[in-house]
Symmetry: C2
Subunit: 241 residues, 2 copies
């Protein structure tokens, strides 16, 4: 009992990196590499070696001093710790552009997240087949979830529908949501929600672009002085909630 079982609760920042290490390790294993040092892994992941060691230490003490980590064993341990030693089928909500791309994208099934179902509320889309899966009606969500034990829902709808979809996913018993709609969705705290907003990513890049542009053109751009001041018009209190 006292053998391996690692101390729980891995810091979020580490949890976010483990999949990256995992992916690199799998590539290395495929390439015939048997073991790897924290230094080598750090190099490939583009991070600091000490960080790699600390991250891995949360899993347990699986390295061998003077040698490094056995690739296969590390893969095994990361998988186990992250719950990737089983498949997690997902239900995609939204059979539009993005939903279809996700369903057709091999990267899901190939990495342990097969598309178990796709639903849409548009009758015209229902019964069409995408990526080998027949689109079903949104109303069947409860049946699907309770019938298959799917725990993860993927929202690929327009922003306007996202929150309602999230509510329905939660009601159906989903406990993790990956949201691609460009809006915040809220859910009870027992449910994990992650939002991936493509535009947000681009906007972050935009900030850095802009920053570089400013630096190039002499420390700061001559003010784009639009005259507008903070209190350009006296503020009138509007609805705040």
């Amino acid at each position: 009992m006292s053998t391996s079982r690692p101390r729980r609760r891995i810091p979020e920042a580490s949890v976010a990196r483990l999949p990256i290490y995992l992916q690199i390790l799998i590539e290395q294993a495929d390439g015939g590499v048997l073991n790897i040092s924290s230094e080598g892994l750090a190099e490939l992941a583009g991070v600091n070696a000490a960080k790699v060691r600390k991250d891995l230490s949360y899993l347990g003490s699986y390295g061998v001093r003077g040698v490094g980590y056995e690739v296969d064993y590390l893969i095994f341990q990361i998988r186990r710790e992250m719950g990737l030693d089983q498949d997690w089928p997902v239900v995609i909500v939204g059979g539009g552009n993005l939903g279809q791309a996700l369903a057709g994208y091999g990267g899901f099934s190939g990495r342990g997240f097969p598309v178990g179902a796709i639903v849409d509320n548009d009758p015209a889309k229902v019964d069409t087949v995408v990526g080998g899966v027949r689109i079903r009606h949104l109303d069947e969500l409860d049946t699907i979830v309770s019938g298959t034990g799917i725990a993860i829902g993927v929202i690929a709808t327009p922003a306007s529908a996202a929150q309602e979809v999230a509510d329905r996913l939660v009601a159906a018993g989903i406990t993790s949501i990956l949201n691609f709609a460009p809006t915040i969705v809220t859910a009870p705290s027992r449910v994990s929600v992650r939002t991936v907003d493509l535009a947000v990513e681009l906007q972050i890049l935009s900030y850095h672009e802009q920053r570089r542009a400013n630096l190039r053109s002499g420390t700061r751009t001559g003010g784009r002085g639009t005259g507008l001041g903070p209190g350009s018009a006296t503020l009138k209190r509007g609805a705040t909630a």
Copy 2:
């Protein structure tokens, strides 16, 4: 001169939140809301009000005590600071599943990132039209970038091609890369790179799912004791690089 120009260098964590505030503010403006308190904005963004104020304070001092922030003016300032007062056309590399979905996804153009070009190295794809844009050959990248001044490249290729594509993007003069391929891509430090790996997101959710499952079934699952020990076989030093 001493008027507005805010102190530079906004912490990364704040930069990542500003687009979210921006989006909420735009929604509010559309709904006719004229001003909003840090409390209100925090509520909508799902974060702490002090954090909102601190984030916004990096832009300058644009709030009015006792009243809040003028929505329109805040939108203007966030846009300006993030470089969103101009369009940033992007070039998408990869006309496959994902590339097509991205090109067809309104969320890009609609938010200031029009798809300026799509390229692919598959002759069969070249000249087909996706989302109103004709796919051109990858080899035209240099011409496209220098001709249009596009600064942002989006990688929507298989992982195996990602690094080479990144290199070519950099060579062509791109300074920001948004990578959707499930692999690390490296670039000179003058180039910003962000990777969005859908599977990684799911794996993070998996971790939390698994964690909940473990907690439910009595503190910790009975060990899946596969006998395997850290040094199951004596490690032989393999290639490390």
